[in-house]
Amino acid sequence: MTITPELLLNFTIAGLMIGVLYALMALGITFIYSIMKMINWAMGEFYMLGSYVQWALVVFLLGADYWFVGIIGSMILVFVVGLIVQRVLISPMFTSGMERRDEYGTVVTIALSLFLRNLMTVLSGPDTRTPGRFLPPVTLGTLPVSGDRFAAFVGALLLIFLFYLLLNYTWVGMAFKASSQNRVGVQTAGINILRIDQAAFAIGVMLAAAAGALLAPVFLVYPSNGAIATVKGFEIIIIGGMGSIPGAVLGAIALGLTESLGSVFISSGLRDVFGFVLLIIILLIKPTGLFGERERLS
Amino acid sequence: MEPIIETRNLTRRFGGLVAVNEMNLAIERGEVRGLIGPNGSGKTTLINLISGVYEPTSGDVLFNGKSIAGWSPNRIANYGLLRSFQVPRLFGSMSVMENMLIARFADFRLDYRKDYDGATEKAQQLLEMAELDPLRDKPAKILSGGQKALLQIVRGFMVDNISVYLLDEPFAGVNVVVKETIMKVIEQMRQAGVTFLLVSHEMASVRRMCSRVTVMAQGARIAEGSMEEVAANPQVIDAYLGGKK
């Protein structure tokens, strides 16, 4: 294939766009990790729930014109589900006993992901669903893009921006940041750390659900559609550094560009391997990722 | 006589902070050397430097006249230079006896079986000396603070060729009985030929144990001599008062 400047530009735009969408998938994982120091292996299933709620709301309740209301609705609903799941399943894995046993959290979230995915597989039958395509196509530079993907892109940017505002300009956001740095400190300040954990988990899965809802028209709605959010999300948080919010955003864009440009210059068949190559290179150079916290022996 | 441990202009920086600054220290064979100094004077950092936990920024550490700067902690330990930690670091899930034996077989040799009976016997003796033998099959994490401190110290003596033992605040958080036991153990091992460096806040114990005391302040040596000598040294008193110069 001959690489023309136009083609290169198209690939760059495509890579950037998917990178921002990846960022939204990774934000929740890294946010939950930063507060609870726990990996939620069921993150992709909350993405999947978000896309199903969006589909159900648009098809049965709202109609295509109010698709954006559906996104907010699915975020709220999954937020509530997250509150309940954290309270009933996650938090009991960490509270009792002296030692923190990460493996309990790992096992329970793996089991939760199996449960949600297989339950949805049985319930939804063989059908792939879509809430519908809402928007006319647009052209970015030289690249024609579907309106819905562009909307998801803008929505993701907006959510990342809102999340940034929440973290930096609100009391609650400040409490989240503080909790990730010093858990004793927030308690002596009079904050209920258990509620911070619960809220952090719920917000994390809500972000995943938002990605699911935004991307429902583009990447479609089916029981295993969350796999991509889990896989890309984990790649990104390793690249960007676990627990780092800017790391997640930059790592996501780096991954999007690597995949897109890698398929131009090398081979598209290996595209999904590129992300892992990038990841292993980064691990070899800087084991804690681009923005990762330092881990010391003593 | 050649000192068994010697540091030459040993320096360690953390970012802009100089934790240990051109430190010179020489310990004779068979000595129990005291190392005192106000909080934050760099005593623990010095121990970490000698035992290989930190690499020196500059300077050298000599052990039996051989430079060991930059060696890994386990290699240094295999050569017979041991250290304890201020907060006892035990293997909580393992039994007291296993904690003892691990020190003996740390320099893994394939013929470890030969030594088993001897090692157990020695461990038993040490545990009896420390009055820990009733607990030998309990996991270490259930010991009390004082028992943990004791176990940590006697564990070091399991190392076959121990010749130097750096003790970081061995009396912190232990009661009188345990303290006496620790001192008894130290004295016995000194007679067996082990050299000690004793870092402690407890002047009374230091005074009892050590004929020579080194005083550190702000990362450097400011005095050395018997406890009476250093206590009379106005520089030392100033250091404890906080350097109101």
């Binding site: 297989n118 059908d127 519908g132 395509r133 991509i228 | -």
Partner: protein, 414 residues
């Protein structure tokens, strides 16, 4: 300690409850499963069990598995209500087994069906790797398997007496695809497929066949979990193909249609679906209301073709039950189950050897004609190839029966 003991007891009680709760209703609770027509049960005759070995959960392809399962269940219904049962008029009962798309689970599943559930025959088999693992066990246990949709040539090429197949396999599908492209005057063909057994096998076959026929072929294989195929499609676009073969499985095929449309590739460049997923017209038009027109569909069945009696029964019953036309997966699942039941009936027993002999020598009414599965050469061993047709949705919201028939192909074994 006491509290803990109590907890353990509580746990076991709970587990017991879960186990009993879920084993009691067992199979019939699922929405996808049809309650076997109650009136049809010939009284007091012990049923003939038939196994349905299908991917029903991840990492398999549960969506495909469910479609085949529908066919198999309706096959049982057909045998029981219309054909009056299998051997000695005994009704057929389906035992469903999830193979999880995993060879080991598939092999275990076959063993369990045969040795624990005493089935007379097994059908299903979607993933080639599962089929290959089942083959080896089938050789030992002797109960016949009819492969519904495993595409790999090696499945039958290993000449195992118990293994039969009624599927349109990769090499033949590739011949049809390339032949169609040639007949349309295309010289440059692009194929996009995911790295599943189907996609990989088809890509290899298309490359070979294309080279043999003097066509330029550009093949792109991506990971099956990939969601964004824009870079691949951009690359294909710049290569300038005259037709694109869409060889995805599962959901990627739908995304290829959308994403190719978004970057202006389709429908400017025609696209051919290499399997008949767009045949589920309701789903297809819901997913592609504006951009679905013009797609070519490679399938085994079209309205203009004459269906056999059983085929017609299935078509009507399926339309009634699910409100859509049956797809190839369902049709084949249905046909294979009927084949098994018939073979047992003709053999007069559920003995594996006897059934294998009937299947090998007899000719049976299939949904699409008459099936024979003799000992052929290579992949043609016990292989029957359904007809190939290519249709086209010429207008939005067209039903399969209204689709334009543009090409037919009948493979003749040499």
């Amino acid at each position: 300690m006491r509290a803990n003991t109590f907890r353990v007891i509580a746990m076991f009680v709970l587990l017991g409850l879960v186990a009993t709760a879920c084993s009691a209703p067992a199979a019939p609770t699922t929405p996808a499963q049809a309650p076997t027509a109650p009136a049809a049960k010939p009284a007091a005759k012990p049923p003939v069990y038939m196994g349905a070995l299908l991917p029903l959960s991840e990492p398999g392809a549960p969506q495909a598995g469910q479609l085949i399962l529908r066919g198999i269940q309706m096959g049982a219904e057909y045998v029981n209500t219309v054909l009056g049962g299998s051997v000695d008029g005994r009704p057929v009962e389906i035992v469903t087994e999830d193979d999880k798309g995993t060879p080991e689970v598939g092999a275990s599943g076959y063993r369990r069906l045969v040795q624990e559930k005493k089935v007379a025959g097994v059908t299903g088999c979607y993933h080639s790797s599962v089929c290959l693992a089942v083959n080896e066990v089938a050789k030992e246990l002797g109960v016949p398997v009819i492969v519904t949709q495993g595409s790999n040539a090696a499945i039958t090429a290993s000449r195992i007496p118990q293994v039969f197949r009624t599927h349109l396999i990769d090499p033949i599908r590739a011949i049809a695809l390339i032949d169609f492209a040639k007949s349309q005057g295309h010289k440059k063909v692009a194929i996009m497929a995911d790295n599943t057994d189907f996609g990989v096998g088809l890509t290899t076959a298309v490359k070979n066949e294309g080279a043999a026929q003097g066509l330029q072929v550009k093949a792109t294989v991506y990971d099956r979990a990939a969601v964004d195929l824009t870079p691949e499609l951009l690359e294909i676009k710049s290569w300038g193909p005259e037709i694109i073969f869409n060889g995805g499985t599962g959901n990627t095929e739908h995304r290829i249609v959308d994403q190719a449309f978004d970057i202006g590739l389709f429908p400017k460049i025609p696209m051919l679906a290499t399997s008949d997923w767009p045949y589920r017209s309701e789903e297809y038009w819901k997913l592609h209301p504006k951009n679905g027109v013009g797609i070519y569909i490679l399938t085994a069945y079209h309205q203009d073709m004459a269906l056999t009696k059983s085929g017609k029964w299935l078509y009507d019953a399926y339309m009634k039950k699910y409100g859509e036309a049956p797809t190839y997966s369902t049709l084949n699942g249905f046909g294979d189950l009927v084949l098994l039941a018939e073979a047992a009936k003709r053999a007069g027993s559920t003995d594996g050897k006897a059934m294998v002999k009937e299947l090998e020598t007899g000719s049976f009414e299939f949904w699409a004609g008459t099936v024979t599965m003799p000992q052929g050469e290579g992949a043609m061993w016990h292989q029957w190839t359904p007809p190939v047709v290519i249709t086209q949705y010429a207008a939005a919201n067209q039903l399969p029966k209204d689709a334009k028939l543009v090409y037919t192909f009948n493979y003749k074994a040499k």
